[in-house]
Symmetry: C2
Subunit: 136 residues, 2 copies
DNA sequence: CCGCATCCGGTGCGATACTG
DNA sequence: CAGTATCGCACCGGATGCGG
């Protein structure tokens, strides 16, 4: 029997640098990955509309991000053969599960931004015009 | 009454590119930010130990990441005056709140990596040796 | 016209060396 | 041991081009 051996050996381990879970984490939490997934939680969107909804993302990075998320099975890409071309992006069931864990984080950030803003002000990283000067 | 006007004007809005909440999101979900915060949830750690615990992070990026998280008020930096120098890093109460929203995501990733791995296999991005060839 | 691949210039990362 | 300076390279973002 296998009761003594570690039974959950197929789980990911974020601690180890070469574990593929790191790649998935990178996709989910990359600069644009999280924003794209969160945006797609609300609605199925076309490429252009998605780009406008996310705000600030370049075409290049939107393509790259969507490509990665599609390969991960988090985002579904549907091509509608017509003129002009339509490509609709939506979450897969897997992606919907993931975004369920992403949403609380996003909400927390939006709700608690003032508290962090206060920390920024204490450290003097906020310019007179309200702009934030940070090492990214 | 104020029911019609938006009363929660001081919340962040991740949709708008110039909103500072984007910066906070970036810190929390940057390649190393999330890993550092998750690692610090378990224990207060010194610089070197933290570096070893995270695994794969360069000295430069650990410094940068910690600096940003400290400015955000998520991480506390305590210098112990002695030789050799000791610097201990731990979560602030604010950071502990944030990591509470980060942990479910990390757990989901580790638990569901096999499902994503199956998607990777279907697309043929996994080499014969098990290595993953992805556009990051 | 829309989706996206490609090319190009600047920025930030990673590894190493070095200082206190 | 904790961090900063240096440097080559990868990657990001914007512009351009092309197919559908």
């Amino acid at each position: 029997m296998e009761s003594s051996a570690p039974p959950r050996s197929r789980r990911g381990n974020l601690r180890s640098p070469q574990c593929p879970s790191r790649i998935l984490l990178q996709h989910l939490t990359s600069r644009w990955g999280a924003l794209v997934l969160l945006t797609l939680q609300d609605e199925k969107l076309r490429y252009g509309a998605l780009r406008r909804a996310v705000g600030g993302i370049s075409e290049r990075m939107l393509s790259k991000t969507l490509n990665a998320l599609e390969i991960d099975g988090l985002v579904h890409r549907e091509v509608i053969e017509m003129m002009p071309p339509h490509v609709e992006y939506s979450l897969t069931p897997l992606g919907a599960e993931a975004v369920l864990r992403l949403r609380p984080l996003a909400d927390w950030i939006e709700d608690n931004l003032p508290r962090v803003g206060a920390e920024w002000a204490r450290r003097g990283v906020i310019g007179p015009d309200g702009s934030v000067k940070l090492p990214e």
